[in-house]
């Protein structure tokens, strides 16, 4: 569904992605894990059109999407939930959700939009309870749910999630990832999630890539990587080479 081949992206003057290749098959949850500064968000922003790659290929459903605007990608079914949620704090939960459907509201039937709204309220009952409340008054976890809900209003076929666990308490992180797993199971939504919290991401993902200083150093089934000592080390940032101890 999504394919990256040797993608290089500069972040300012820094080569943040040094030839990253990865793929996501339809219906999969794929995680990109790695320490802070590994290039995870740059990778996601390059896919979603926020940043332009210097070289390499990105295809979605076989179509070249490198350099396409986020708008265009939303129309194609590729929707990003940005890091730090980027909600409109002064607007109500309902209004924030409706913003997610803005590409559709004119073309799509109103009834479909309200159907989606009902579905999202069913997934996140708390959003229904607080639909009139302004987004700024929600807790961190609720804001993340709202951000995901808003993205779902665009009826994505593939969701790009940027650090959904950021700033959240462990129990809330668990809840968010449970919802991500449900999205795939119930709605068939394909998910690419970048996450520093490897443990949480690897628990729901089918496959994963380990990114380190702009390079993919491992890939494999998430269950396999979860047990890999190298991943622990990647996070702890401990000295690597200790041959005989």
């Amino acid at each position: 569904m999504l394919k990256l081949q040797s993608v290089m992206t500069y972040y300012g003057r820094i080569l943040a992605l040094k030839g990253v290749s990865l793929h996501v098959d339809p219906g999969e949850i794929v995680a990109v894990v790695g320490p802070n500064g590994a290039g995870k968000t740059t990778a996601l922003n390059t896919i979603s059109g926020v940043l332009s790659p210097r070289s390499g290929r990105i295809t979605f459903d076989g179509k070249d999407i490198a350099g396409k605007t986020a708008d265009k990608l939303v129309e194609m079914g590729l929707v990003q939930v940005p890091e730090g949620r980027q909600l409109f704090p002064g607007m109500s939960v309902y209004e924030n959700l409706m913003l997610g459907a803005y590409r559709r509201s004119r073309a799509a039937k109103r009834s479909l939009v309200s159907e989606d709204l009902d579905r999202i309220y069913a997934t996140f009952p708390v959003l229904k309870d607080r639909s009139r409340q302004s987004a700024g008054t929600l807790s961190g976890g609720e804001q993340q749910m709202l951000a995901i809900g808003r993205a779902l209003m665009a009826r994505p076929r593939m969701l790009l999630l940027d650090e959904p666990s950021m700033g959240l308490a462990p129990l809330v992180v668990k809840e968010i990832f449970r919802v991500i797993a449900d999205l795939r199971r119930d709605g068939g939504t394909t998910v690419l999630v970048v996450e520093q919290n490897a443990k949480a991401a690897l628990a729901v993902a089918k496959r994963a890539y380990v990114l380190e200083t702009g390079r993919v150093v491992m890939e494999g089934p998430a269950s396999e990587l979860a047990k890999n000592p190298e991943i622990q080390r990647a996070y702890l940032g401990k000295g690597y080479k200790q041959m005989v101890e």
Partner: protein, 432 residues
Amino acid sequence: MPIWNRKQETMQRSEMEQLQLELLQTTVNRAYRNVPFYHRKFEQLNIAPEDVQSLCDIAKLPFTTKEDLRDGYPYEMFAVPLREIVRIHSSSGATSKPVVVGYTRNDLKHWADQTARVMSAAGVTKDDVVQIAFDYGLFTGGFGMHYGAERLGASVIPVSSGNTERQVQIMQDFRSTALVSTPSFALYLAEVMGRLGVPTAGLWLRVGLFGGEPMSERMRGEIESRLGVVATDNYGISAVMGPGIAGECELRDGLHINEDHFLVEVVDPTTLQVLDEGQEGELVITTLTKEGLPMIRYRTHDISRITRSKCKCGRTTARMAPVRRRTDDMVIIRGVNVYPKEIEALLYEIEHVQPHYQIVIDREAGLENLTLRVELSGGMISDQMQRLVELEDTIKHRVHALVGLTPRVRLVEPRTLHEVGPSERVIDNREK
């Protein structure tokens, strides 16, 4: 026959190439970061991991040789700390430092899946009783095939090598249906059975998986008729992993390469240029998933060729021709290239002798001499001088017709040369 890992073995070419590119990059990134040897090589060639942007870019990368592995004896080439290594295998190292191979837990898991694929392709199922007559120990053959058979759920007999008469007994009593061994051991088993008067018709054997040394079509035919098995060839190389790299399916039209774990190239052994599909040359293997000992462009010295055409069995993986020769077993005598394997094939066609032989090269007064020691068949009465002389002449003429040199021929008693290993096949006394 069932395809063991259908998803991986029947991938579309474009999907496989995407996966290979991803895995090649991760392997290069890890090797560059964790193995000083590769870091140094990259710097010498003035290349960085990100120069690998497509599968063709592999041609930019340095080769790895057996000598490099020996220089790194024992652990220098490992890409993970020793505490993550759960298994260590090693070559015998009779003449120099051995090659040491380390496996992580994941490496062993992948190994089992790959040998399971090879066994399944050859027709082994969970209902089989698999007699594994490869050496269990530092050699990779026994354990590697054992894991695959066990993964399939077959009944595994880890009989290991040697003890031939006991093997025959086990084969009869335990009702072995599959034999895993070298082709020459299979022939030797047949011979021992003949000597013991064991009728092969009474055996339960139906499949044979042979590896560890070249198997000519003639040998294959002989094994099949004498043991009543369908004989398949499989390929592995200890420095890279062991068995499980490739194996024939029941159609026996090339060995299916486990391409999601190995990137296989064919290069010209002299110029080292990458050759096109279908051209014969030296196999060069890059590991794609190995964690303990990743290998970039390992020169196998094995001669083969590759096809990516689709096999009728349904697998989409590339296939390699059976390895029958090596680049480094070529010996040059009086300026003539001689491949011992060709002489072996020739001996097969001559009655009254076994393809068990030894090539001795001497220099006398500056002149190089080729002496061929050949084992007589059991039935040949060696006191009939006239017939022995005729036999010697036949061998001389045939060898001359093949390589353009007339050897001296020494016929030796039956069963004196059958245990000569590959390293003793050629005795070169010229250097001394």
